[in-house]
């Protein structure tokens, strides 16, 4: 899966970069979106310093810690964010864009498996993709909120390494924290 919309203008806003994932897939991404991944931005700027001639045309940036499926979602999320170089919209356009974004976000989260969510957080952290990290962290917190300990352990595959008596002690001491949680 790659982004192949061509734009003949050589302006920097439509410059593209190629990212290579752990499973050797290539993604062509607009510079504006790729720059939201600060790790990529840093790599790009380091490259630029050492090679003035080719500006993003042939450089392939390797991302050995990111799988293609994960990168695809992160790029897709990155595209939906307000672009820093975009022309300022009027109020109505802004509202429509906001609604679209909300709808996209809901759709994205609805079908997300817990393992995928953990992957996205790890990848967003590795790429230093701040907005993505915030968004998926919030999503994870929303999943945990008011859920029982058993549910959260099961859902995220958390290993319970407590001895039974240790856990019992904790539950007694903080009994109030276990009241009123959602049914599993």
């Amino acid at each position: 899966m790659s982004n192949t919309s061509e734009n003949p203008k050589p302006s920097s806003s439509s410059a593209k970069m190629t990212l290579k994932t752990s499973d050797n897939e290539l993604f062509e991404v607009e510079e504006a979106v790729a720059m939201k991944f600060c790790t990529v931005k840093q790599y790009f700027e380091d490259e630029k310093d050492s090679d003035v001639a080719a500006r993003g045309s042939t450089t392939v940036i390797p991302l050995p810690n990111v799988h293609s499926a994960v990168l695809a979602t992160l790029i897709s999320y990155g595209k939906k964010l307000p672009q820093s170089n975009a022309v300022a919209d009027n109020h109505e356009e802004e509202e429509t864009k906001k609604k679209e974004r909300k709808k996209y976000e809901q759709g994205l989260l609805k079908n997300l498996m817990p393992g995928e969510l953990l992957d996205l957080i790890s990848a967003a952290n590795y790429l230093d993709f701040k907005e993505g990290l915030e968004f998926f962290n919030q999503a994870l917190a929303d999943h945990i909120q008011n859920k029982s300990v058993e549910y959260v352990r099961k859902f995220f595959g958390i290993k319970n390494d407590y001895e039974p008596h240790e856990e019992e002690k904790y539950r007694e001491e903080y009994a109030w924290a276990f009241e009123g949680v959602d049914e599993d």
Binding site: M113, P114, Y174
Partner: protein, 455 residues
């Protein structure tokens, strides 16, 4: 293995980087949620104990445990943390049931936070809403004297008793300082290049305030008794100043405005000494003169003024206003009665300055229909910019169509119109609900008839 959970044997959640787990925890809405995370696994337990944000709010615990148990719980939680010896970023404590006597558990917790280099310290004692509403201080908690810290960047204190001399040595790095409903020493003098926002609200005993903070951008002061002297002239970066019931003079205002060249917002509320003011400022964007009842004359020359709020209770001053055509004005004017020709003249002239402005909202609780007619006849051209009009009438001697006719002649492009039919003493109860309601009305003209409740 469960089908809908993660199937790997490796616990990826517990092994996420600690800062990420902390960030996720900061999104959890209740302390219950945060506490349960510690029970998920031993790894997460130690991550919880290094969570740098501590928030002990007695209000959230009121349903679960009493005041004494709450303090015990706080003490125990802090004991758990002593072993890990990790710095704390934010420490918040809110206590409402204390009786003014020092409690070792509270003092200990404050010292604990300071020993662990807390950056943001938020201490609130007593029921804030009741105190603000009824303008009383209640029982104040004495801040332990031995706190000297060099790490605090944000400091919020409500409901405490202390002397500034004891506090100021710890304020070297403070950027945001807010002191409210506290009992303090009479002199507050601070010199700091880090201070960005300063709020001194309703502090008992405060008489003089001298601030030398070259990077201060926001300053807000209010008092129940109105007897403070303030000096802000050296704060060249000030952008926002709000003074409520502060005893500033006309000269003070002129003096400070000539020094605060970057000022953008100025809010003067209940400044009862101001008589004749002269506001001449290039950068000023927002100006509010609210309930400054001794004001007789105001000359305002602010070419960049974007919003102007004016509210008076008794007399209507002579106001000359030179501003941009981009201005949005909100005027609530009492005291323009049929027997007062002078005020009517002042008002008429004043209204003329808004003929080209962007939007005008006018509330005239005392205006009679005959006066409105006179106004319509007196103005050479109707108020083209008037978008929102609220009028309160003594009697409904004319029928509604006639009233609407007059008002629409006065301002043909109205978007919303509010008419109240019964005079009511306390304007807040009448006008603010209307203002609130009107702000949600749509673009087509809507007329509201408001019949006030019999008190």
């Amino acid at each position: 293995m469960e089908k809908d959970g993660v199937e790997e044997a490796f616990d990826r959640f517990s092994n996420l980087p600690v800062p990420i787990i902390h960030r996720i925890m900061s999104f959890l809405p209740t302390t219950k949620d945060v506490t349960r995370v510690a029970v998920l696994s031993k790894t997460l337990n130690s991550v919880c104990h290094s969570y740098p944000i501590l928030d002990f709010d007695q209000r959230s615990w009121k349903k679960i445990m009493g005041f004494d148990s709450f303090l015990d719980f706080m003490q125990k939680s802090l004991q758990h943390r002593r072993e890990s010896n990790i710095d704390i970023e934010i420490f918040k404590l809110c206590v409402i049931d204390h009786d003014g006597k020092s409690d070792q558990r509270i003092d200990e917790s404050i010292r604990f936070a300071i020993e662990h280099n807390v950056k943001e310290l938020d201490l609130r004692f007593g029921d804030y809403w009741i105190r603000s509403r009824y303008k009383c201080y209640g029982q104040l908690y004495t801040l332990p004297k031995t706190i000297t810290t060099k790490s605090i960047v944000v400091l919020n204190l409500v409901g405490l008793a202390f002397k500034f001399e004891d506090l100021i040595p710890s304020l070297n790095l403070v950027e945001h300082l807010s002191i409210e409903l506290c009992s303090v020493s009479s002199n507050f003098t601070i010199s700091s290049s880090k201070l960005k926002t300063l709020e001194l609200q309703n502090c008992k005993g405060l008489k003089t305030i001298v601030v030398d903070a070259v990077n201060l951008q926001y300053f807000s002061h209010s008092t129940f008794t109105g007897s403070s002297e303030i000096s802000l002239g050296d704060c060249k970066s000030l952008k926002y100043v709000k003074l409520d019931n502060t005893a500033i003079t006309d000269d003070w205002l002129k003096n400070h405005l000539s020094k605060l060249l970057l000022l953008e917002s100025l809010i003067l509320k209940s400044c009862k000494i101001l008589g004749e003011i002269d506001i001449c400022h290039q950068k000023l964007k927002h100006l509010a003169l609210l309930n400054c009842d001794k004001l007789v004359k105001a000359k305002i020359e602010a070419p960049n003024l974007v919003s102007f709020y004016f509210y008076n209770k008794s007399r209507f001053p002579v106001i000359t206003l030179q501003c941009s055509s981009q201005i949005y004005a909100d005027l609530i004017l009492f005291g323009i009665s049929p027997t007062n020709d002078e005020q009517f003249m002042n008002f008429k002239n004043f209204l003329g300055s808004f003929s080209h402005c962007k939007s005008l909202s006018l509330t005239l609780p005392d205006m009679e229909l005959s006066l409105l007619e006179e106004l319509r006849n007196a103005l050479r051209s109707p108020l083209l910019s008037l978008k929102h009009l609220r009028v309160q009438l003594f009697s409904s001697s004319r029928s509604l169509p006639e009233l609407l006719d007059i008002l629409l002649c006065l301002s043909p492009y109205l978007e919303t119109m509010c008419i109240t039919s019964k005079y009511k003493e306390n304007f807040e109860e009448v006008v603010f609900p209307l203002l609130f309601f009107c702000s949600f009305l749509g673009p087509s003209l809507i007329v509201l008839m408001y019949f006030s409740l019999v008190s």
